[in-house]
Symmetry: C2
Subunit: 341 residues, 2 copies
DNA sequence: CATTAGCACTCAAATAGGGAGAGTGCTAAC
DNA sequence: GTTAGCACTCTCCCTATTTGAGTGCTAATG
């Protein structure tokens, strides 16, 4: 069986109608509403063909057709037209997101909020992951008997502090010395640029405090490795409840349960190699609980490097074209906002 | 009408049965299961009385009785026996919560998790609020042209850092000077102990950088005020879905919606003056959406001062006695754990 | 030969009609 | 004061029955 132009039109009409109404679509509706210039009977024949080809399915005889997963895939890949975003929308986002927010976490959280508001689906945004960092500053400050604060400043502006135990006999001078030596030796280097010889020479300089040094170095390593964990911010988790296909509790529950597990969501959002927007429909998501959902994700960048992901989760009967535009736009807005930070 | 002993027994039996089964309780059940030594007919008379007194209600004629809000209140205040916690339970909590966790936020999060697991309801725990803090250290570190990191260490061990803009002409020496002057003048003081004269003398010493100083001081103030915002950690939000009274979507939805709004939850948890455990039943919660829920809260302390709250949210048909024991115990466990930090 | 009108057929969802069962309130007897 | 007995009331559940949307097939049509 071959896909001709009329079949495409019929398929598109069915998908659009089903996306809009969530009701199985009949031949009559298609013929009338999407004026293809043919009779319902003809449409019926086409529909039978499309079903045979795997693009449509019937919930039961005597119901209309609904798109299959393959049908949505074909739609997204071949039929869908991009829907341009309203300029006032863009302006609104730019004003609020790009220009006003200074803290990274707030920015991510706000992005997630806007994303769910604009799409009416559930949004999820991963905080930036700065791997492969360059150390800019390292400082050890005495805190109290036996304790010190270590401050680590990375090149990307990320600052971390750690409260740590230190030998009690250390005085202010030693703190300064240790800070200075570490700072001098390690500043400006990524983890890969550390060499055993370098570490050894530090050890030699600070031989009296090798245990503390060990501790300090491992903390620094940890920070440089970017193991500052990524968080997920979610918005509109309850928007799924508005979807008619999830009006029974048993159907929503697994999804809400999923959304409660940050680890799983993080895993799902982990950046794929692919550029641009990724659409995963139904079982294309590896997660069992997402088999009736579609996930549209995109990655955002800083200085050309992919450092995070944002995504929208909705039913497979999702408004793909609209959501894709929003996701695309918010990705660029977020990238832009991060550039300014 | 007077409450005699038999009425109490009947009321208690009805409440216990309803809590256990979620089904309206009939006279027959009471007479048989809770052997009061009287016939169903007698129980029926007592039930009619209790209904007249406002402790019971009937969903419709020919259904059994269910406790009214007033009924629960009477039960909690007068009838309920405390249920002792299993010692193995206590041991488990102590081992995991009190002795193993070092970071405050992790501790709170874990508390919330345990709380929901132990109760099978939704738990919410507010992070500690340390008002009235003493400054221990203040340090300004150069970061890059025009930027510096300010480190603020409070007496309670809380460390904060802030990236801030500074005049570009400042050199390392000036940073050290500013740090030293601030540190010297403000160390060991609470916000209340700042005096205008003190601030003025600082201004005099640093007259060339009064704008920067203004900025710094306001940040420090902010930290001392303890305006590091309190967070809420929640556990088992979806546990309500297990409750038969919430098996229809329309009934759960407002509650889930509520739980999504952290501000509202924070507000609900704000410590009440009252010591010990607080039980708010149905509309005793001010929040509209909680009219079919009960909230059991308690406050935890550090050094005698109330600094946070933890709570359990469930249907009004909640297992009050069990939950109260758990809440009491976890409050003390949390207080103990915080003492060790 | 593609298209279409016509028609019998199918199936889900809505509607209506009974019981069955649980529980009550009242009355009269104990 | 307590209880047995009984009529009465509702909800819940089961089972037709109907309705209507939509199909697939066939035969007629341009």
């Amino acid at each position: 069986m071959k896909m001709d132009e009329r079949k495409q039109k019929v398929l598109q009409a069915i998908i659009l109608d089903y996306i809009a109404t969530a009701d199985p679509v009949g031949s009559r509706t298609i013929a009338k509403k999407y004026n293809l210039g043919v009779s319902p009977a003809t449409v019926r024949n086409e529909m039978a063909d499309l079903e045979e080809m795997g693009f449509l399915e019937q919930p039961h005889t005597s119901a209309g057709r609904i798109p299959s997963q393959l049908g949505y895939r074909y739609y997204v890949d071949c039929l869908m037209k991009k829907e341009p975003l309203k300029t006032e929308m863009k302006k609104y986002v730019r004003n609020n997101l790009v220009d006003r927010i200074r803290e990274t976490e707030d920015l991510i959280q706000y992005t997630s909020k806007i994303l769910s508001q604009m799409t009416s689906y559930t949004s999820m945004v991963l905080t930036p992951f700065y791997g492969n960092n360059v150390l800019r500053h390292i400082k050890l400050l005495p805190f109290e008997e036996g304790k010190a604060v270590m401050i680590i400043v990375l090149d990307n502006g990320h600052v971390e502090h750690r409260l740590m135990e230190v030998p009690e006999y250390l005085g202010e001078d030693e703190f300064a010395t240790i800070s200075a030596i570490l700072d001098e030796n390690l500043r400006g280097l990524t983890l890969e640029q550390w060499r055993p010889s370098l570490v050894q020479s530090i050890h030699k300089e600070l031989k009296h405090n090798s245990e503390l040094l060990q501790d300090l170095l491992s903390h620094i390593e940890h920070s440089l490795e970017g193991e500052q964990e990524q968080k997920v911010f979610m918005g509109g988790a309850l928007n799924i409840l508005d979807q008619p296909e999830f009006k029974q509790l048993e159907r929503v529950r697994p999804i809400l349960e999923l959304l409660e597990h940050e680890e799983i969501i993080k895993d799902v959002l982990v950046p794929v190699s692919q550029e641009g927007v990724t659409v995963r429909i139904g079982t294309e998501n590896k997660i069992e609980g997402m088999k009736d959902c579609s996930l549209i994700t995109a990655t955002y960048r800083v200085e050309g490097r992919v450092i995070g992901t944002l995504g929208v989760l909705g039913p497979t009967r999702m408004e793909y074209s609209r959501v894709i535009s929003v996701v695309e736009f918010l990705t660029s807005a977020l990238t832009e906002a991060l550039k300014k930070m």
